[in-house]
Symmetry: C2
Subunit: 447 residues, 2 copies
Amino acid sequence: MYLSRFYLPLMKETPADAQIISHQLMLRAGMIRQGAAGIYSWLPLGYRVLKKIEQIVREEQDRAGAVEMLMPTIQSAELWRESGRYEAYGKEMLRITDRHDREMLYGPTNEELVTEIFRAGTRSYKDLPKMLYHIQWKFRDEIRPRFGVMRGREFLMKDTYSFDLTEEAARKSYYKMFVAYLRTFNRLGLKSVPMKADTGPIGGDLSHEFIVLAETGESQVYCHRELIDMAVPGSDVDFDGDLEPFVRERTSLYAATDEMYDEKEFEKVPEDDRITARGIEVGHIFFFGTKYSAPMNCVVSGHDGRNVPVQMGSYGIGVSRLMGALIEAYHDEDGCRWPVPVAPFHVGLINLKPGDEESDRLCREFYAKLQGAGIEVLYDDTPARPGEKFARMDLIGLPYQMVVGPRGLATGHVEVKERHSGERIELTPDEALDHVTGKIISALVPA
Amino acid sequence: MYLSRFYLPLMKETPADAQIISHQLMLRAGMIRQGAAGIYSWLPLGYRVLKKIEQIVREEQDRAGAVEMLMPTIQSAELWRESGRYEAYGKEMLRITDRHDREMLYGPTNEELVTEIFRAGTRSYKDLPKMLYHIQWKFRDEIRPRFGVMRGREFLMKDTYSFDLTEEAARKSYYKMFVAYLRTFNRLGLKSVPMKADTGPIGGDLSHEFIVLAETGESQVYCHRELIDMAVPGSDVDFDGDLEPFVRERTSLYAATDEMYDEKEFEKVPEDDRITARGIEVGHIFFFGTKYSAPMNCVVSGHDGRNVPVQMGSYGIGVSRLMGALIEAYHDEDGCRWPVPVAPFHVGLINLKPGDEESDRLCREFYAKLQGAGIEVLYDDTPARPGEKFARMDLIGLPYQMVVGPRGLATGHVEVKERHSGERIELTPDEALDHVTGKIISALVPA
């Protein structure tokens, strides 16, 4: 992409209500723009990151055997009366009356709708197990939206629903999502720790929040040090095999958010291994049995021919929120520092002197060769001053910068900067191309 | 995808309110399910087609130089007061009041929001021209939603907005979209005819609807025969070059919907070349100058340093509606007949006798080899009877079927059926694989 053709409206002054660094950087780097409180437009740079996060989430859902679909944003109030949640949900639900005075709502979540779909299309235990998911915009009318996309009102969520005949089978579906979540956050470059979550009146041990540690996190968290750097299952993991060992390994050590914190239990962890930190919730998985299937009559005929309500679970990932979490984890005083798999472009190619014949020629050659190798390049072909170009490229935080100008070319060199380490090296054009291509291609292979 | 793991709830009885064939087939083939009047869930099979249509639309927008972003579904009423459309829009606009009693709405279109974004981020004529687009769900509260996804309330639309300094420059942006639309519909397998549309009080000749001919179309259309089969510009078309000849070629022959029909003009077309038919509107492009930029003060400084409102156009494609149009164009009495580029899967692999060792082995081999070649396979590994399997595969309409069973294997053969022609041939397994792979790969290369 040529920067002169792209749309990248940087912001010089950050609005005072942007309190955390991810919110500030997303505004300054022209990634989002607020339309109304807690409602954002995703400008081209930000949208590219959002799509990459979404695609990694999708690939890991597919790998785990979940099937993608899409439910609409607007739902009928009737369904929510069947489950009893229409009145219970309160003011966070955006309620709407259509032109025929029918009560509708903007879906804050989809348990009711997916249960209705499943009950209409499924008759027998032979059709189970199934996992369905979608990645769709949700709306929760937060009383005080804040922290940019971290606590917005209109937000993108991946939600999966599992359908099983027995609780034992449902446990297997739960484990699949548990492992898929570890893989997803790891591929995004985030260290996530599953923490036992409150199951409310349903009880049981099948509810976990996935927490990313970050200073600006909204929750206080307590966990065993070993959980932070534990290796995640590889891409060869067999989702039809026994996943319990992976789950057990992750759940046998202490980990809890303040909501579930038990001081006495935490003190059993050796003192040197106790981690107390702030965390951001990026995923939540939950087995809830027949909570919706029973009142909504979502049944299948069992082995004995009698109808039984299906056992269900739901599994959410905050896709738009993850973008904020990524910036919280990857930034410095100059701006974003994107990991390669989610970077809006992989390389920022800076032409210090557009119009200089040799600089133009080499930049065009780099651009063509990198794009040909599947590497995404943002080519700064604008007439801005070098200082402005450097600051802009640092701010938007592409993993590698290649700097081409007459002074370097006079000695046959270009400069390559790695944004994360800040390291700069002078290389010949061929070396620079090989170096950057090799680094990026290897970072794009999923673990 | 193994059918036993997929979610494909076929419907035996079509609801009486499904009047047109695309609506009936989408329900019967388990592609969509109605949530409320004019609001649909996209079940896995239908969602796969929708994503493919969306991706082709996206690729052609990118090729033409438009930059993708995403605006939210919920907008503030304030903006629409600035343009004067808030009161004017009437009951088709879904109006919403949030918990703080602020007036909001579910965007039926995005001229206001994109104008606000552009005015905030753009200062100078040097930043022009620009084209921004997004593919987002819209809501129009139709009084009588009908024809399934053809006239739904919640629908997926691609809308592009162009920003230029002068009307002459805007004309070039308009031509880019004109050519991009011809390419888009052609790649989808649809024959589209651009027809002059009403520009209302703005006037001028820069508004066209793109119409696909279909018996069930909502509009009566009149056009010159040559327009139907006119070749479209290839993938090597230079969007920075002069596109006017392509546009002129398409607009010099008579074409009009009933709204713009002029009997005397149509009679100047030689009688044998006069086509009178029904059509479905799938795209609409429109230059509207300063209609929004002037009242909303979206200005740039011009060459002389004085501020001028930008010249704008908008360009829509009904992405979800296209799915209905495709089925109207491609079906027979047994079901859908998807063109390869938008087919939910390319091959339906039918195992006539799961459990038969040799059938299972060959099916698994076919599956692995086809997937390895980038071909999408739906593998019917279920215990259903052969007749049910054939009928189901015909109904969902994948372009090729490969049928494997003990009887054929006894003589070393499998059957390949081309869904579109209905032609069946017996081939050895290796021949079958080569035949199907070759056909699909060549159909996937964009023209």
